[in-house]
């Protein structure tokens, strides 16, 4: 079985648990907020929007620290692992923002049905779904790249060198979040013209991917996770 399929199998349970917790918190919180009157903000965009950045960051860290050693120990080359990692990470990066957009749509429609949307609530418009997705995607990809890169730095070098590498390693995530985002109120923000902001983020992500490859392509397999 391929590396990406095996990673999916290993992460399946964790992803399902995370999704379940997110759903329970969402339903419980929105129901509680609704009791006080019409909802003025998108709880889903606040919680799932943040999760779309920070969960990939954590996932990126764990993917290298938990799995590189175990996959190589099972006869997988570092390059095969990296290729599988890219596929799996691409899956996360593409699906997570889509889940946020779909969740926002569901929340908006349900609150609309019960007439619980305040005037300030960021109503979901199907025509803006693609734009919302494309404003979430760069941060997800950036933070995922950052997690993988920082973890690769710690894996390859001594801890104090890993700490020094956190700053450059954070660039893809910071670029993705800093240049393009969806605010808690649902506003689509691009701090530079979107195409330029997206290009800069893409460059940071590609550089991060190249750096990760250079760090891990011939790294010694350690006895511990880092």
């Amino acid at each position: 079985m391929s590396v990406a399929a095996t990673l999916l199998r290993l992460w399946q349970q964790m992803i399902l648990w995370f999704a379940a917790i997110l759903l329970v918190v969402q339903v419980g919180a929105v129901a509680a907020i609704s009791l006080a009157g019409p909802v003025r903000f998108s709880f889903w965009l606040v919680v799932a929007g943040a999760a779309a950045k920070y969960w990939p960051l954590v996932a990126g860290i764990l993917l290298v620290s938990l799995h590189l050693r175990t996959f190589v120990a099972n006869g997988v080359t570092r390059h095969e692992f990296l290729r599988g990692l890219v596929l799996f990470a691409a899956g996360i990066a593409l699906v997570f923002p889509a889940v946020v957009v779909v969740g926002h749509a569901v929340e908006s429609v349900v609150l609309g049905l019960f007439d619980h949307r305040a005037a300030s609530y960021p109503v979901f418009h199907f025509g803006e779904a693609a734009a919302e997705y494309l404003h979430l995607l760069p941060a997800t990809v950036g933070f995922l790249t950052t997690g993988i890169l920082i973890s690769a730095g710690f894996y390859r070098f001594r801890p104090w060198i890993g700490v020094l590498l956190i700053a450059p390693g954070a660039l893809p995530g910071l670029a993705g979040e800093g240049l393009i985002e969806v605010s808690d109120s649902g506003e689509l923000i691009a701090r530079l013209p979107y195409a330029i902001a997206l290009t800069l983020t893409a460059v940071a992500v590609v550089l991060g991917a190249v750096a990760t490859h250079r760090l891990l392509r011939d790294v010694a397999i350690k006895r511990s996770a880092t």
Binding site: M1, L66, V72, G75, V76, T77, R223
Partner: protein
């Protein structure tokens, strides 16, 4: 054929493996012996592509091994620390091996778990030292890879588990011949398994030969202490054990048949050289100096 050509491994200023060249014919059981810090694990790490040598290459059937998918797929390297996450359950570790290793024998893996009485539902973190070693042995044997490397895989195992391990290893090797390299400090206990022995010291290979040839390099003489001492006069003594008037000396070199016959008439018995005695003799110069 597995070849190491001029392999050197450095950790900063420390040279762990120093310009080792070694040719290992396949489908044999090797014993890799060496004192602590002699470079055994570093050498095995290079062999298993866990570490790229600072200099030199490892070839398998003439092809460079490092990052070669076919060769890495055919290599199982079981380290004493186990390359598993503590939070994993045993069955999850076996499941991953089954997914990634084309030669994995799941049925045999479960048979081994039964033999060693290990619960696959347990988490790695909940296992004792010996049980962790058993997981390593299961992963190594059930992988059925053409090259299987077991680095001190017996750590923490009790005598029963070790005996089962040796028995299973030999049975599975006979049923599925492959190259197995065992790094160990329990030399006499495992010596019967070895077809060839490699002895390392301070990063270099001191000796590599057939086990039988090594055993023929000397003899063990046992009998009344005075007769044994008298007989040993003029021979190099590699090892010595004395118990209540009975002495066993390990002598270097071959004895001629007349000499043996003379010894037997004096009540002495002769046996093959113990690998451990040879190993201690070859690697204990500092010990000798300190006496």
């Amino acid at each position: 054929m597995i070849e190491m050509r001029g392999v050197t491994i450095r950790y900063g200023d420390t040279v762990a493996v120093d310009d080792v060249s070694l040719t290992l014919p396949t489908d044999k059981i090797y014993g890799l012996l060496g004192r602590n810090g002699s470079g055994k694990t570093s050498l095995l790490s290079a062999l298993a592509s866990y570490r790229r040598p600072s200099r030199g290459t490892v070839l398998v059937d003439g092809v460079e091994a490092f990052e070669n998918p076919a060769i890495m797929r055919g290599t199982a390297f079981i380290r004493d620390t186990l390359d598993l996450n503590d939070s994993d359950r045993v069955r999850a570790a076996l499941d991953v091996a089954g997914r990634l290793r084309p030669t994995w024998d799941a049925e045999y893996a479960h048979k081994l778990l039964d033999i060693f009485e290990l619960d696959p539902r347990k988490r790695i973190s909940a296992l004792s030292r010996g049980q962790r070693s058993i997981v390593g042995v299961v992963l190594g044997l059930a992988a059925r890879t053409p090259l299987t490397i077991l680095d001190e895989s017996y750590l923490g195992m009790d005598a029963v588990a070790r005996t089962l391990f040796y028995r299973e290893l030999l049975a599975d090797y006979l049923a599925h011949p492959r190259t197995i390299i065992i790094s160990t400090h329990l030399i006499e206990e495992v010596a019967e398994l070895f077809e060839r022995v490699v002895i390392m010291d301070r990063g270099r290979v001191l000796l590599h030969d057939e086990t039988d040839a090594l055993r023929g390099r000397g003899v063990t003489v046992t009998g009344p202490a005075e007769q044994v001492s008298a007989f040993a006069t003029g021979h190099t003594v590699l090892g010595e054990q004395t118990l209540v008037g009975v002495r066993a000396l390990t002598l270097d070199g071959r004895l001629d048949p007349d000499e043996i016959a003379r010894g037997e008439r004096a009540g002495l018995t002769f046996g093959p050289l113990g690998l451990q005695d040879l190993f201690v003799h070859l690697t204990s110069q500092r010990l000798e100096v300190s006496r």
